[in-house]
């Protein structure tokens, strides 16, 4: 499933970022990498998704809808 549609407040593992995503390099530089564990903090109707990368530390990242749709994740046990 894509990050945008993923459930909130559960651990999510990043599978990959769609190769056509124009901001792929930026996302990677900002710590969004395959296999990292994220927690999605909000479930927006149209705005950006708010995530916390549990692998990296305490800061949060806001990711626009279109970009969040290009990040594939799975629920992590």
């Amino acid at each position: 499933m894509c990050l945008y549609d993923a459930p909130t407040e559960v651990s999510l593992r990043i599978l990959d970022i769609h190769p056509a995503c124009e901001a792929k390099h930026k996302l990677i530089s900002m710590g969004i990498q395959s296999n990292d564990i994220l927690i999605k903090l909000n479930n927006p109707n149209s705005g950006p998704v708010l995530v916390q990368n549990m692998t990296n530390g305490s800061s949060k990242l806001a990711i626009g809808k279109k970009l969040a749709e290009s990040i594939n994740v799975e629920q992590h046990q």
Binding site: G57, L61, G64
Partner: protein
């Protein structure tokens, strides 16, 4: 000991790591810092004295990795690759250890002498992470100094460490090894690059890594000789990892940093959820966050208005008395009277009209920037900004624009996309800067009351929305928001006061002479009756079209130099000592404010627009602002004269 400057120290770190705060502490000059990615978007430099030796210290813009994705990051990488750098102080955010260490790993690969300032370790401990500095130092073979830059803690040790590095020889760090397969490829490339290095400052291994990861930053002469080999490695990577080379190298580095982070840190019990984290969940809430955001902005400007009015009242009486001191000259020596009056009116305008609103605005903005709330507003407003064809990151330059358009224009460098940068820059011309806010508040306080100030601010929002929509309607959609939301911080009143003091000093040094000089020139022009010609020339527009007093025409010409001049010149042109003496009707006051808010950017803003975006954008900005100012002012005139 020699006192000549021959060593350059650069501060490098990820955004929000605390570089600018550390720079402030290390140097005597204080620069603008805020808890938002991309505060430092241009170079800030100073000379520092360590034990009698003078060093050149540079604060480079924050960079997430040595693969830049915006203009500010590009500046940092180009500086590191092409300029003289004798020591890097890598400012590491201890609360984001693993991610920050990715940049550290890259900087070590760069092969320049380095000291690590491990900042905000106290915050990391609050979040349950304890870091072993000695272990990090041993693994990377780089001195590590724990710091709390905001409180100035650890800075003395850092300075001692810098001195030691220069006195007892510089150490290059130990590069960490990637996986065996990747290391083999790197070795072949490094050997091939080594004899070609020549004039280039970096080392062969760094270029070998970059040639695989991001060949854009490898000199063409090197890339030309290794491109076949590099392409082979690229193909292998894709076959083996099912990822492109950029992702493969980033992934490898990510894991090195993670491993390093695990080795040097231990988890400690976290007593309770920090208070600010609890507040943050409300600030970022889709409903409460929006309500709080609007309430906050309303209170912000309302406070400036109320405090400004109070301060204005305090200085009003002595300011009114000043012209009486030289009134005798008016008949005996009219030219001298014009000159002295010019000086006095300039001072009166600056102290009596502009400063009362400018001071609270500067102080509140400084407090506000420190908290990290700016990024939260950008997040909350992203959806709204999409409706006008932009995204949340534009909010940041817009809010900075309420202070001054010049740093706000530089702040557009944090945007990855040129389209977004140009549109944001052009719309920035409509944001009233502190000088124009002073004009709004001063005239509103004298003639219209605060309600009209609110109406004008709302109208500014409408103008930005319409122009943004019109400009972006035919363009492709923006790339989308990627924005770090840093941890909330309690602002320091001391830091905010210092920042206010520095900006105020700057205003008195730079703007006051302009106000006084402009005022003298206006006095002389009036004496030689030149203003009459200017006013006559502008009369069809000012009097017939906008229904304003003819004498206000020449003041608008001065406003091009600095916006504060408009109100100072207006009082002088009308021959009054107090703004209420202008005798404007409500319709005239509002029409005048609206025109001043939107018309042509000041000369400094235009210069930056031209330098950052080129002649076309600067000319379009002039045409757009003049058109919008004319239409808007005429609309208000029509409505208020019904």
């Amino acid at each position: 000991m020699s006192n000549s400057i021959n060593k350059t120290i650069v501060l490098v770190g990820q955004p929000n790591a605390g570089k600018s705060t550390l720079f402030n502490v290390l140097s005597d000059i204080k620069i603008s810092t805020s808890n938002f990615a991309g505060t430092t978007v241009s170079l800030h430099e100073t000379d520092i004295n360590i034990n009698g030796e003078i060093y050149h210290l540079i604060d480079l813009p924050g960079i997430y990795s040595l693969n830049p994705s915006d203009a500010a990051e590009e500046l940092t990488l180009n500086y590191l690759l092409n300029k003289q750098v004798d020591l890097i102080i890598n400012v590491v955010d201890a609360t984001l250890l693993a991610r920050s260490l990715e940049l550290t790993v890259e900087l070590v690969e760069l092969g320049l002498p380095m000291v690590i300032a491990l900042n905000m370790q106290d915050e990391a401990e609050k979040h349950g992470v304890k870091i072993n500095n000695e272990k990090l130092e041993a693994i990377l073979n780089v001195p590590v100094v724990p710091t709390i830059a905001l409180l100035g803690k650890g800075v003395k040790k850092l300075v001692d460490q810098i001195y030691k590095v220069f006195s007892f020889g510089k150490k290059n760090g130990t590069v960490l090894e990637y996986t065996h397969h990747f290391e083999k490829s790197l070795q072949v490339l490094t050997e091939k690059i080594e004899p070609m290095l020549g004039k280039f400052r970096s080392n062969a291994r760094f270029y070998a890594i970059k040639s695989i990861e991001n060949p854009l930053y490898v000199p063409k002469s090197i890339m030309g000789s290794i491109s076949d080999l590099r392409n082979e490695i690229d193909k292998e990577n894709i076959q083996l990892h099912k990822k492109d080379s950029f992702e493969t190298v980033s992934y490898e580095r990510h894991h090195l940093a993670m491993k390093l982070s695990h080795e040097i840190s231990t988890l400690i019990p976290r007593s309770q959820r920090p208070f600010l984290e609890k507040i943050d969940s409300y600030l970022l809430h889709p409903f409460f966050g929006q309500i709080f955001g609007f309430l906050f902005l309303f209170l912000y400007f309302f406070t400036v208005f109320v405090v400004g009015n109070f301060l204005s009242g305090l200085v009003d009486v002595p300011v009114r008395m000043l012209p009486e001191l030289y009134v005798g000259l008016k008949i005996t020596q009219p030219f001298l009277w014009r000159t002295v009056d010019g000086i006095a009116q300039g001072l009166i305008g600056g102290i009596g009209i502009v400063l009362p609103y400018f001071i609270p605005l500067l102080f509140l903005t400084a407090l506000f920037e420190e908290t990290g709330y700016l990024a939260r507003i950008a997040f909350l407003m992203d959806s709204m900004f999409h409706r006008i064809g932009l995204h949340g990151k534009s909010v940041v330059p817009f809010i900075m624009g309420f202070g001054c358009a010049v740093p706000a224009l530089y702040a557009t460098r944090i945007m990855e996309n040129k389209r977004d940068r140009i549109i944001t820059a052009m719309l920035l011309n409509f944001i009233p800067c502190s000088a124009r806010i002073s004009v709004i508040f001063a005239i509103a306080a004298a003639f219209t009351g605060p309600l009209w100030a609110i109406v004008i601010f709302l109208f500014v929002g409408v103008v930005i929305a319409i122009n943004g929509r019109l400009m972006t309607i035919f363009l492709s959609k923006p790339m989308g928001l990627i924005l770090e939301i840093p941890n909330l911080k309690v602002p320091s009143v001391t830091v905010a006061s210092k920042k206010t003091y520095i900006k105020l000093k700057d205003f008195i040094k730079v703007a006051m002479p302009f106000l006084v000089l402009g005022s003298i020139v206006l006095g002389w022009l009036d004496y030689f009756r030149v203003t009459e010609y200017i006013n006559m020339l502008m009369s069809p527009f000012i009097t017939n079209f906008l229904n304003l007093p003819e004498k206000l025409g020449s003041t608008l010409v001065f406003g091009f130099l600095r916006k504060e001049l408009v109100v100072v010149m207006a009082t002088q042109a009308m021959g009054v000592t107090n703004i209420t003496g202008l005798m404007l009707t409500l319709a005239q006051a509002v029409t005048f404010i609206v025109f001043v808010v939107f018309y042509i950017p000041c000369v400094s803003t235009l210069a930056v627009l031209w330098r950052e975006f080129g002649t076309k954008v600067a000319i379009y900005s002039i045409l757009l602002t003049m058109t919008v100012a004319t239409i808007s002012a005429y609309l208000f005139k029509l409505i208020l004269n019904i």
